[in-house]
């Protein structure tokens, strides 16, 4: 993919150069290209099914409407978002953040102040876009007599022997451990951090992979490297659609909200803000979530969501009662400290 500037970290000057030449061209040439620098927008991409849906429903229609070209940059990197503000070299103007990261990003002052394009849409300077879930999935060829029902079964290595995998991300894994230990979803927050780590101790030796990337999680499930996994629902359906012998449950799936944010002080501010508004407006958002099976967070989008897409959406009326939501405002500890402890725990 030509558009994917994967190694851009190592040659960040290219864009500066391009902008420099654009500026020079503006100075030299006719006034009609004076707006040239605003004609391109760089968006941080998650790749996979996310990118396909975003390209078809958000990026291409936005370009058609405004004439602003969109280039995607992979992978999604919180560190790069911060580094951009520090160095003033911008690789991307717009990105999405989950509930855990957006609080940190806003506190660190690395994202731009935004206005809410729809009522109740703004959280910590991010515009709520879509909900995604971390759910429990497994291989149907693992040879078990019963079907796993809940995270407690994920921990039950006697009844369901086999290798397991979870994301290397404390904010998502700790609530799951507490559910497995019998805490009711409504009593989860604030989290009992000690109890969660104690429960994680039990499963540690059975976790073969702590996955760090979405495509990696699909791959290890599809290739049978693990028998049971906590995986993003979009990535699960990717494995299922590829024909892998897999199954899953919505029960106790963990909902995260994704927010569009604009990198602080980006030179493409105007286009970036326009895009965020466009991407969270009802019709484009409905198309995006219908294709990628996310749950739309702008309620006005729901009337445009096709019924056929709903069974795969974590927020649809059938599925929503079975899932639980992250609560970052009442989390139960300093997420950063807990993450560091989680890292030490992983290495020990």
């Amino acid at each position: 993919m030509l558009k994917d500037r994967r190694n851009a970290l190592w040659r960040p000057s290219r864009r500066l150069f391009l902008q420099g030449s654009a500026a020079a061209a503006t100075a030299l040439a006719a006034p009609q290209i004076a707006r040239a620098q605003n004609k391109e927008l760089y968006i941080n991409s998650w790749g996979g099914p996310w990118l396909e849906a975003a390209q078809a429903n958000l990026f291409d229609p936005f370009t058609a409407e405004t004439g602003i070209k969109i280039t995607t940059v992979s992978p999604v990197s919180f560190a790069k978002l911060a580094a951009q503000v520090r160095t003033g070299v911008y690789e991307f103007d717009v990105t999405t953040l989950g509930g855990g990261d957006i609080v940190r990003a806003n506190q660190a002052g690395i994202i731009e102040d935004l206005d809410s394009p729809y009522e109740g849409g703004l959280f910590e300077n991010g515009v709520a876009s879509h909900a995604f879930a971390t759910l429990m999935a497994w291989r149907t060829d693992a040879g078990w007599e019963e079907t796993p029902q809940s995270w407690a079964d994920f921990w039950d290595v006697e009844k369901f022997p086999g290798a397991r995998s979870l994301q290397r991300y404390a904010a998502r894994v700790l609530p799951i451990a507490l559910l497995a230990d019998g805490v009711a979803p409504e009593d989860l927050y604030p989290l009992d951090i000690e109890r969660a780590f104690a429960k994680l101790d039990e499963i540690k030796e059975h976790i073969r992979v702590w996955w760090t990337g979405g495509s990696q999680s699909t791959q290890i499930l599809r290739d049978g490297e693990v028998d049971m996994i906590g995986i993003w629902h979009g990535r699960y359906f990717e494995a299922e659609d590829a024909g892998a012998p897999v199954d899953f449950t919505w029960n106790q799936a963990e909902i995260d909200r994704a927010y569009w944010v604009v990198a602080k002080d980006t030179p493409n501010m105007e286009a970036a803000k326009m895009f965020v508004e466009f991407a969270t407006s009802p019709e484009p958002l409905a198309g995006f979530v219908s294709q990628a099976n996310y749950g739309a967070l702008n309620p006005a989008a729901n009337e445009f969501v096709a019924d056929a897409a709903k069974p795969r959406m974590p927020t649809s009326p059938d599925n929503y009662p079975q899932v639980f939501e992250q609560d970052m405002s009442n989390w139960g500890g300093d997420p950063e400290e807990v993450s560091m402890r989680f890292d030490e725990w992983l290495a020990s």
Partner: protein, 282 residues
């Protein structure tokens, strides 16, 4: 007309420096300046002081990861030596033509990208890969998963680094004066004692060169242990990346990078005192 060149060649001490200048300027701009920035960051982020170093040198996670980095580098070095020495010996003992064939096979993996080789190991060692299949066919019931363990990451690193060892040892072996071996034989040394007292000491410089190169390169390995290993055996470079990506801990990551650099320099300094650094370059 040829004045400039001849005057330059006459001032012999100036000529080499002129030749070096483009590289020196390049390195200064693109290596030393960013490195200095890393060093500065390590004592200024998030606030001025040595807190980052204190954390890196006393925190249990960092100590464990650094120790593991050295242990892994040492293990990889030993494995490379065990694999590489006999192969270099074979290349030296066989005909020139066959030696070239072996050399070609060894260097061929150099032409493949690092990442591709790492993914190739994932395919080979995976649960549905040929290695597990082979284990099952020869009678292993329920063979243990070998991917994402210390074994798989070490194996891949040995594969990537072994050529450095082999070529170093081979080049030293080639220069050994055969008459030394013959005279040792005439004095009654043969077999193991010939190897221990004559051949091994003669190839020692090659072993030392290869080992230092492999060890030092291995200290900084990033992608292979991250993709093929597990967090329990993570290495310093992986943790540096993780610290920055996950916690935006630029200062802490920089301090770890500087500690790793200093330790690497110490290894090279010890080697330099013992053998001379120039030996590394043949």
């Amino acid at each position: 007309m040829a004045v400039t060149l001849s005057t330059l060649t006459e001032r012999r001490n100036l000529w080499p420096w002129l030749l070096l200048a483009p590289l020196a300027v390049y390195l200064a701009l693109f290596f030393l300046v960013p490195l200095a920035e890393v060093a500065i960051m390590s004592v200024t982020e998030p606030r001025p002081g040595l807190a980052n170093y204190e954390k890196v040198l006393t925190g249990s996670l960092y100590r464990k990861v650094f120790l593991n980095t050295f242990a892994t580098a040492a293990l990889v070095t030993v494995c490379c030596l065990l694999v590489g020495y006999p192969l270099a010996y074979l290349m030296n003992a066989t005909t020139q033509r066959r030696a070239m064939m072996i050399l070609l096979l060894i260097t061929m993996s150099f032409w493949t990208s690092f990442l591709v080789r790492t993914y190739a190991w994932m395919v080979l060692l995976g649960n549905n890969g040929p290695v597990i299949w082979l284990l099952e066919t020869i009678g292993f019931e329920d063979p243990p998963g070998i991917l994402f363990t210390r074994f798989s990451s070490t194996l891949a690193m040995v594969h990537i680094l072994a050529p450095y060892m082999i070529m170093n040892i081979y080049s030293v072996m080639q220069k050994i004066d055969r008459s030394l071996i013959r005279s040792a034989e005439s004095m009654g040394a043969y077999g193991l004692s010939l190897f221990r007292h004559v051949y091994l000491p003669l190839t020692a410089p090659g072993i030392a060169n290869g080992s230092v190169l492999v060890f030092v390169i291995c200290l900084g390995f990033y992608v292979t242990p991250v993709l093929l290993g597990s967090p329990r055996e993570q290495m310093a470079a992986g943790l540096i990346g993780h610290q920055i990506e996950e916690f935006l801990a630029f200062g802490l990551g920089s301090a770890m990078a500087i500690v790793l650099l200093v330790v690497t320099l110490i290894v090279l300094a010890i080697y330099s005192r013992r053998f001379g650094l120039d030996k590394l370059y043949g």
